[in-house]
């Protein structure tokens, strides 16, 4: 049935399919290098200090010593004695962000001005389109996933991070997270959480530590217990990892994407994918979104899945928290060797609107919200924040997101947090989404889906043709072969 009234079609992607399939991604962009090559997340090469004070070029504006200076800054910016900031965050983060806002107001209130900060909920993937629709009505400070940064910069909706603040940001957060916040070397956002990527969740009752080392091992163990492992082979966000493991590279300058996927290396990746898909139906499920992951754990058909922390609570509820294990991705058999499966990383970052009326206040607030202490509060653990629900019972407001702040990552809680460890171990093998363009996702997904549909049973020629078709669909510049 067609409704004649339906006419307007959108840039706002709220379709459930897309949300499930792309898990919040839109087109990417940005710097071309891969994420840090040093395996350890702490102590990056930028020169060691982990704390928040000292170092000549930085001023820790959030320290107690500087409270009055900050108040002065805010006072000079107040209009009619008021500073009004609108803040956007995801609906599930709303209560925590409100609590955090209260902390900020308490700390920086002053008789010279009134601080009015209003958090409201806008789902993170929608942020860039809502800003572009009417930028003057947008929030002054907003939270979004890093792959939207390029769009925000291209349309001019997001403000550059103050260079003074950025000195601190660079020092305090992991290199990888700082990198995704810049476009062409210019910083535009404050890194906030580092767990918007994925790793392997598994049921400890089914898998031992040895089982989960190789993908084949997982599949065979699962099969022997009449269960499955779920990995969305028909979703480019996941299956691109095979190509990166094979050594393929990709870069995107905001206009054209250049890859060497259509090569022998790419072909070996396709073969590796085919090898896995041969087990489709017997231990391996190659397609499914978040709903399928959770349903699978609930009804026992799935004992392991490659997914991210957004499904963590659901999985814990499904099989019991003590049975949930999280670890980096397994190795895959490629070119006869076992090699670590790569992945796309993901970060949630905080941005400031380009034409906000209160630029200083907005940047200070954004910096505050992504500072070490805030990131720890947001994570919870020893710094857990509690509130009351409508019946008066205690409720945890902290969100459990893994910080990007180096010092925070060094605390006891995070050193022992399985998801943090898994993300950490996977980090050297994760690529930022900014290296691929908007045209990449659909064809690459189709490639995985096609291999899955054929259960890996493709001749070498078929593989070559499909690979060529796929790469032609997203790779404008190069005519490699």
């Amino acid at each position: 049935m067609v409704s004649k009234r339906k006419r307007a079609l959108a840039l706002v992607l709220t379709g459930m399919m897309a949300a499930a399939a792309l898990a919040g991604c839109t087109d990417g962009g940005g710097s071309t290098t891969t994420s840090s090559s040093t395996p350890a997340a702490q102590n990056s090469s930028a020169g060691g200090s982990e704390g928040s004070t000292d170092a000549a070029a930085t001023t820790d504006i959030l320290s107690d010593a500087m409270v009055n200076d900050v108040k002065d800054m805010l006072a000079s910016e107040a209009k009619d004695g008021k500073i009004t900031l609108k803040v956007w965050c995801s609906s599930s983060d709303l209560q925590f962000e409100k609590w955090l806002k209260d902390q900020f107001i308490e700390r920086y209130s002053d008789s010279r001005y009134e601080l009015k900060i209003t958090p409201s909920s806008v789902e993170e993937p929608d942020v860039s389109s809502k800003l572009q629709a009417d930028v003057s009505k947008g929030a002054d400070v907003f939270s979004f996933p890093d792959d939207q940064l390029r769009t925000l910069v291209d349309t001019g909706c997001i403000a550059q991070v103050s260079s003074i603040l950025n000195e601190n940001v660079k020092k305090e957060n992991t290199d990888a997270s700082v990198e995704v916040c810049s476009i062409d070397g210019v910083p535009y956002a404050f890194p906030k959480t580092s767990d918007n990527g994925y790793f392997l969740y598994y049921d400890k009752r089914v898998f031992s530590d040895d089982d989960i080392k190789t993908f084949d091992g997982i599949i065979s163990k699962a099969n022997s217990q009449n269960k499955n492992v779920l990995f969305a082979m028909d979703n480019a966000w996941y299956n691109a990892g095979f190509f990166f493991t094979a050594g393929c590279e990709s870069s995107y300058d905001g206009k054209t994407q250049t890859t060497d996927f259509d090569s022998d290396k790419g072909l070996s990746a396709v073969k590796a994918m085919a090898h896995i898909c041969e087990s489709a139906g017997s231990g391996f499920i190659g397609s499914g979104g978040d709903a399928d992951v959770l349903a699978g754990f609930q009804n026992g058909t799935i004992a392991a899945a490659v997914t991210g922390t957004w499904n963590g609570p659901g999985i814990k509820e499904a099989i019991g928290e003590e049975n949930v294990g999280a670890t980096k991705l397994p190795t895959i058999l490629i070119n006869g060797e076992q090699q670590q499966l790569c992945s796309f990383g993901g970060y949630k970052v905080e941005g400031v609107r380009a034409n906000t009326e209160f630029p200083t206040a907005a940047q200070v607030y954004a910096y505050y919200v992504t500072s070490e202490q805030s990131q720890l509060y947001r994570y919870g653990g020893a710094n857990v924040v509690k509130g009351k629900d409508k019946d008066g019972n205690d409720k945890v407001l902290s969100r459990g997101f893994i910080p990007t702040n180096k010092a925070a990552l060094e605390t006891e809680d995070l050193k022992n947090d399985e998801a943090a460890i898994a993300t950490n171990e996977q980090r050297p093998y994760s690529k930022p989404q900014s290296i691929v363009g908007g045209k990449f996702w659909s064809p690459q997904g189709n490639l995985g889906g096609s291999i899955l549909a054929a259960k890996g049973n493709l001749s070498e020629d078929e593989m070559k043709t499909q690979l060529k078709d796929t790469v032609t669909a997203f790779n404008k510049a190069s005519d490699n072969s």
Binding site: V153, A295, N355, T356, P359, T360, N446, A473
Partner: protein
């Protein structure tokens, strides 16, 4: 072939004859369409030519009042006794000039600006462009102790383009009004010369409810349509001639005119796109045909069953089906997706892997069937309403003449329904070509396991493919070009079919 011969053929021969007439009629219809289009444009030029000629001659033959109305609108009417009408015209003229002075002229001027600096993300000038929509670039200032950047946005090209188009439309409307004003001035002059009184304002208003009722009826709808349908279409068409793509996105960036470059790009761009275009076009038409006709036939059958004599609880049956339409489509389609997907509800209930949505052919059939589910309540409602309007005595007399149920259906019921709903059928067909919801919400255009599709899948329609292209690449100008092409194809097709159909030729037939 005359009527007697026709009636004497067998059913099969008649069908064959009609089919032959239909198909041989198509080239004729296409020729007619071009003739009509040609005549249309020819008429426009003729009218314009005549218009100028008349304009001049009216001025020459006009008296003082008429001549004055060429500058002061309404003067002619006032002179010739239609005071109120004249004042209204004058007020409109003043209103228009006020609008142009305050707003319109400014927007028009900004549509084409030269020597405009183009800035990069940091606010540095990297080029100078001509023919830019808008002229004020965005600037960045660094304020405060922290040297935080604050952007001051300059002109927003997309908004300027929109307001420019709006102003052009208003100007055209005003111009038509102006010409009408001169005609009216001259007409009233003639009436007075003949010794009669031109219509008073009361008479004019009364005629608006009688001979000119169509103006009263159509003015509000036309105005709304102009603003919200025509204006965006023209805006999109203009957009196809600019470089409004992902590097030139407002609010920060200005875009400018590039002429036909986008059309060239689309036609010569990567082979993957053209290959996909053909496949999607075929499926779109197949889908539209199946979706429309299955719904239509099934809806009629359902309505007949419910309406049948002797079936009780008619209201209840109808309400059941209406309830399924009452739940919003995106909810029901989401439910369908959850039920039909691999390892979804149906798979688990029957413990098999149906692959409703993950196999291309299955997905296509599923989509048509689900569309049946969604659409039957509507066609059932329409048909039920129509069925109730067929006079009962037609059936009475048929029964007396010995007609059985089937004959009553084919000779009375179906021709009536078909006649009334032919335009609806055509519109539904055309609407199904652009039926975004069912496809996008149910399969997302998938299943995504075919690499020969670029940025799309086996159940994608032209419109969902277009949507994905826009979303991924944000090249709005290219999207506009493709949209125009799709529109031209579908518009031509439906115009041909519509004007060929009996319903449009024989509107008087049934009453």
């Amino acid at each position: 072939m005359n009527y007697l011969d026709y009636v004497q053929m067998t059913k099969g021969q008649q069908i064959a004859y009609n089919l032959k007439k239909f198909f041989t009629g198509i080239p004729g219809a296409i020729k007619n369409l071009f003739l009509v289009i040609g005549a249309f444009f020819g008429n426009i030029f003729k009218t314009i030519g005549n218009g100028f000629a008349n304009y001049g001659s009216r001025f020459a033959k006009g008296d003082i009042g008429t001549k004055l109305s060429y500058i002061v609108m309404g003067a002619g009417n006032i002179f010739h006794g239609q005071v109120v009408k004249g004042i209204i015209m004058l007020a409109l003229e003043i209103g228009y000039f006020y609008y142009m002075a305050v707003f319109g002229l400014g927007q028009l001027a900004k549509l084409y600006c030269n020597n405009v600096p183009i800035t990069d993300a940091q606010g540095n000038t990297i080029a100078i462009a001509n023919g830019v929509v808008g002229s004020v670039p965005s600037t960045i200032e660094y304020v405060g102790i922290l040297q935080t950047p604050q952007t001051k946005f300059g002109d927003d090209s997309s908004v300027i383009l929109l307001y420019g188009v709006l102003t052009i439309l208003i100007t055209i409307a005003f111009f038509a009004l102006y010409i009408g004003n001169t005609k009216s001035a001259y007409a009233t002059q003639e009436i007075k010369a003949a010794g009669k009184q031109p219509k008073s304002i009361v008479q004019e208003i009364k005629s608006l409810f009688d001979e000119r009722f169509h103006i009263t009826l159509l003015s509000l709808p036309v105005l709304l349509l102009l603003m919200f349908t025509v204006l965006p279409i023209i805006y999109t068409v203009f957009m196809a001639f600019t470089n409004y793509d992902k590097e030139h996105q407002p609010p920060k960036n200005l875009f400018w005119w590039v002429g036909f470059k986008n059309f060239a790009d689309v036609f010569y761009s990567d082979p993957a796109t053209s290959r996909t275009f053909g496949k999607i076009l075929v499926w779109t038409i197949v889908w539209a045909i199946f979706a429309t006709f299955t719904n239509y036939v099934a809806g009629i059958i359902l309505a007949l069953m419910i309406n049948k004599k002797g079936i009780k609880l008619k209201a209840m049956w109808r309400t059941i089906f209406v309830v399924t339409a009452a739940v919003p489509q995106f909810v029901t389609l989401l439910i369908m997706n959850l039920m039909l997907r691999d390892n979804g509800t149906l798979d688990t209930m029957f413990n098999t892997q149906f692959h409703f949505l993950s196999n291309a052919m299955n997905a296509r059939i599923t989509v048509i069937v689900v569309n049946l589910w969604v659409g039957i309540p509507y066609t059932m409602l329409i048909t039920s309403g129509l069925l109730m309007n067929i006079p009962e005595d037609l059936y009475e007399s048929a029964r007396i003449d010995g007609a059985n149920a089937v004959q009553q259906f084919t000779k009375i019921t179906f021709p009536y329904i078909f006649f009334v709903t032919t335009p609806y059928l055509i519109t539904t067909f055309v609407g199904n070509i652009n039926n975004f919801n069912v496809i996008f919400l149910l399969t997302g255009g998938g299943p995504n396991n075919d690499t020969s599709y670029s940025q799309s899948g086996p159940t994608d329609l032209l419109v969902t493919w277009l949507y994905k292209l826009t979303l991924n690449e944000k090249d709005f100008n290219l999207a506009a070009v493709i949209g125009i092409i799709v529109f031209v194809i579908t518009a031509a097709g439906s115009l041909i079919t519509f004007n060929m159909s009996k319903a449009s030729k024989n509107e008087e037939e049934f009453s």
